[in-house]
Amino acid sequence: MTIRRVLMGVAAVVAAAVFGWLVMTGLGRLLRAPAAPPEEPVAEVPAVAPPEGTATEGPKIKATLFFASEDGQRLVGVQQDVPLAEGTVAQARALIEALLSVPAPSAYSSTVPPGTTLRGLYVSDRFEVFVDLDATVRTRHPGGSMQELLTVYSVVNTLLVNLPTMTEVQILIDGREADSLAGHVDLRRPLRKNEGLIQ
């Protein structure tokens, strides 16, 4: 009799534990689902150049890329076709690769030094995008506060305007956290979208 009671008690405890586990994991998934994209939110994609031809084929999205205005004092958003990519990380990568390669429309100028390449791109679980650029972005930068602000915020704004679920962007140089790009802008912390610079 007592053994039966003990067994029932144990069974009840096990059942409660299993139910609790199911609820917790289920809730966790439910809570993550609306905020995070369906694919893995924490991911790392090596920056490999897409094979020839894929850029011109396949579905596209209309994205806003940022260039320096005619008077060189502002950023201007320009609508461009950018390949649709699977997931946030791949889409972020496609956006930055477009920003680095698409020539600026005639009146505007590109803010990123020519020859700069994307080494990698990561998204943290706090929805911060880490953009790893090669050292060209620093060595071929013309300097000056204004030009440095335009370079940094064309990258930051291009990502945050097109990927509204992302909150902040930090630029890394050659895989490392950088003090600044040309001696002015603080790159040690992630930056938010800069509306003030947009025309």
């Binding site: 008077d71 502002r74 013309p142 300097g143 204004m146 602000l149 003090d179 912390r189």
Partner: protein, 498 residues
């Protein structure tokens, strides 16, 4: 971890600051009067210059009597009452506030130097003028102009400039192997910077009477001098030393007619809020900064303008001025703001020259720090963070503990006012860019624990501006604009002071 280390470093710095008692060689205060010059020993306490009260008996005839934790000073029938560890003293019935407390140590009483012009002078009806950079106290109506020397060396000449406050006539005469500059004054309050390596001037030193002697170097052949009056309160004498091929030599031409001066008076008056200015010449060493089409480097321009500004502030406002670098060297960002913090600067100005991809872009700009998410959090933390530490000699005192990387967050409002005044100052004298005042997350401003702004003095990438930026006239215009802004900012701080 990094924050803990920084907080620890800050505490160590504070501990070091409180141990500043009596370090280094014994400095002295020169007292200048009709009777001549005498030296009064200075004691450094908590990084402030103090003078022992008993040293005042000789020159001022004061008698002191200690009673009930206070000290009563009498002279000429007037009474001053001092209390240990108090900033307030009673001078002939008036309460006077001092920048540092009265200190009693080893049975001696010490007062900060400001006690002399603020309390003792008025109480005894004596005119006392304290020249802090030169550690000089002028008594009575002696004419002791402040003369700040600047040396600009070029490849084919050297020019020596004297900024003289107040306006004082001067005469240059050539003697064997030297030029003698005679000032019409009773004594000189002279500041001479270290001489750069060049073949025209071998030394600059005070001479007999009220003269300054420029000993000429091997390449010197002739000189040309000119004087001008940049404003009502000061005059400027420039002596160009050239190689012997030039046949130009001459006396001082008459000063040009005075322009109508609508600027605020810049007479040196004691300020409670603005005493120390740190100027940060941008880039330096391996960090060239921007480069002009003719090869002008930003790091050279920023240093030249910073030196001019220092000379002007010292000569016309009499404030303490420090440069984060005074030569061509690489200085990390944190060291620049740390330098300003350690010197307890009341204002931090970082000087830069700009660049753009398009050559037609030009004009000056002013920046102050923008508030990122982390800064907003930091500001709250900065306001909340205060800790109580045991103090030397017993008891406790509350100090603000400020994280290095968030120091600027609590000064944003004042920095925005400073940026506005700098913009107005520049606009009156030079061309501005369409976006004259902006906020940006600039690295060098983050750690500055005082009102701070970054000034872009023009675009090096614009060929016309590159030429301007290398010219002495434009550099002086920039320095004068920033000086005007500091005068207004000082007035603002004084109005806001309790």
């Amino acid at each position: 971890m990094r924050r803990t280390t920084r907080a620890l470093a800050l505490l160590l710095a504070l501990a070091a600051a409180t141990n500043g008692w009596g370090q280094g060689a014994t400095p002295s205060l020169s007292l200048l009067s009709r009777e001549g010059r005498r030296a009064l020993p200075i004691t450094v306490i908590n990084n402030q210059d103090y003078i022992a009260v008993d040293e005042l008996a000789g020159p001022f005839g004061t008698a002191s009597r200690e009673a009930a934790g206070g000290l009563t000073l009498t002279a000429r029938g007037r009474t001053l009452i001092l209390t240990a560890d108090q900033n307030l003293v009673s001078a002939a019935g008036r309460l006077v506030s001092l920048p540092a407390p009265v200190v009693r140590r080893d049975n001696r009483w010490y007062v900060p130097l400001d006690f002399l012009p603020r309390a003792l002078g008025p109480a005894l009806d004596l005119r006392l003028d304290l020249r802090r950079p030169a550690r000089l106290l002028v008594m009575g109506d002696l004419r002791v102009p402040r003369i700040v020397t600047r040396i600009d060396s070029g490849s084919t000449n050297v020019s020596v400039t004297f900024e003289i406050t107040p306006v004082t006539p001067a005469k240059v005469s050539a003697e064997a192997g030297r030029l003698v500059v005679q000032f019409d004054a009773d004594a000189l309050d002279l500041l001479i910077p270290p001489l750069p390596q060049q073949p025209f001037v071998s030394s600059i030193a005070p001479g007999e009477g009220n003269t300054v002697v420029i000993a000429t170097g091997p390449r010197y052949g002739a000189y040309r001098s000119s004087s001008s009056q940049p404003d009502a309160s000061s005059s400027r004498l420039t002596i160009d030393l050239m190689p012997s091929t030039s046949d130009l030599a001459g006396a001082v031409p008459p000063a040009p007619p005075l322009p109508v001066d609508i600027r605020p008076s810049v007479t040196p008056t004691p300020s409670t809020g603005l005493r120390t200015v740190v100027i940060d010449p941008g880039h330096g060493g391996d960090e060239l900064g921007a480069q002009g089409p003719r090869g002008t480097l930003e790091k050279d321009i920023t240093l030249a303008v910073s030196r001019r500004l220092r000379t002007m502030i010292e000569s016309r406002l009499g404030l303490r001025v420090f440069l984060t670098r005074d030569d061509d060297r690489t200085v990390p960002h944190d060291d620049r703001s740390a330098f300003a913090n350690n010197h307890q600067a009341d204002v931090f100005l970082s000087i830069h020259a700009n660049a753009a991809v398009r050559p037609f872009i030009k004009g000056a700009e002013v920046y102050y720090l923008s508030v990122e998410r982390a800064d907003a959090e930091a500001r709250k933390r900065a306001d909340d963070a205060a800790i109580v530490l045991p103090a030397l000699g017993g008891g406790t005192r509350t100090i603000d503990l400020i994280l290095w990387e968030t120091a600027q967050a609590r000064f944003l409002e004042q920095s925005s006012q400073l940026a506005g005044l700098v913009e107005a100052g520049l606009r009156a004298k030079v061309e501005m860019s369409p976006r004259a005042v902006q906020q940006a997350p600039f690295r060098v401003l983050v750690g500055a624990n005082m009102p701070a702004a970054l000034v872009e003095i023009g675009y090096l990438s614009n060929p016309d501006q590159e030429q301007q930026l290398t010219s002495a006239a434009y550099q002086d215009r920039i320095a004068e604009s920033l000086l005007d802004a500091l005068v207004k900012f000082r007035a603002l701080l004084d109005r806001g002071a309790p």
